[in-house]
Amino acid sequence: MDAIKAEHLTKKYKDLTVVDGLDLAVREGELFSLLGVNGAGKTTTIKMLSCLTKPTGGDAYLLGNSIVSNTAEVKKSIGVSPQETAIAPNLTVRENLEFMCGLHGFSREKRKQKTADLAERLGLAQVLGKKAEKLSGGYQRRLSIAMALIGEPKILFLDEPTLGLDVLARSDLWDVIRLLKGKITMILTTHYMEEA
């Protein structure tokens, strides 16, 4: 079954066409890469698919739900790790994860369990008590992905997850992404040919 199916997805800002009639299909459990130079429309595509911006034409279906007419259902099934780090800087890693758990309505018990589980899976256990702003770039990206995974999404969007990271941090982060491969559908954007 297709997890994502885009049909003539288009985004225009006045006279500028950013995404022009995109058709794509991503099967469940697949890791799908959007490769392109800066300004190619990768982030805009992710923003449209994650209901952050409305398409000006066409539609896309995530697990059968339209991103135009059924955004509430779409939001229940997705997780997004934006291009910027998008973490709460003055909260610790644990607090960031528990905060996201709370927003998804998990019980106190489940919050603790979920936080411990994700910290273990993404290699964050040793920095749980550290303030997010004090983490290295690589750890901040891991935290960002962990926060996107809190809601137990079926589809995960990773926008330039390795941007600005050094070689080692990139390699570590790719280990994390490989770990998730096959378990959930992932769409990631990159402008590195070797990553795509």
């Binding site: 939001k75 934006p82 910027e84 709370g102 309505g105």
Partner: protein
Amino acid sequence: MRILIFSGRTAKEILRDPLNLGFGLGFPLVLIFLLSAIQANIPVSLFEIGSLTPGITVFGLSFMTLFSATLLAKDRESAFLQRLYTTPLSAPDFIFGYALPVLPIALAQGAVCYVAAILLGLPVTLTILYAVLFLCPVSLFFIALGLLFGSALGVKQVGGICGALLTNLTAWLSGVWFDLDLVGGIFRKIANVLPFVHAVEMERAVLNGDFSGIFPHVWWVLGYAAAAVALAVYFFLRQMKRQ
């Protein structure tokens, strides 16, 4: 429930920033002690503790605009808000989540200023409690301004407009540092159509137990607070839509 969780995060972000504590709490206290010391050497009625403290509490609230605007602008620029827009949070969750936790911080700041004033000789009366409570609408005005600026401006602009311009406007146009009648003319007229001097006069009347003296000032404060809240909601929803 989600509002409470979001509010908790807002409060932690603000209170864990040492600069916020320094400006929000330290600066008004320094001013109270400094101006009281001046008053002790060169008596000026404006700087008598019963007149000075209400002014300083109102001036201190201008930092609430800076705190809430900076947090919101940072959340926008770091795409943290974008991430939150993909969660089940609704627009009212966001607005209340940003605004509500700043209110107790504002009242606590006012209370600390009055405690300092008591140490400097302000008589302990029930009107102090009322004066702290009357800070609510003033706080609401400044917090709403924070949401408005945080929704419309970037972090650097917020620093300039809320950190420098607004705090100075509040100081000059509130009659805290000098009697506005001494300047008179257009300056006095401008001050009178803005809420700052009315907020200070309202606070002074409440602290002195002159409850009829809160009029018409309270109407100015409530009017500006209502307008600021309406504009803040509009600008927040507009940026939410744009995201």
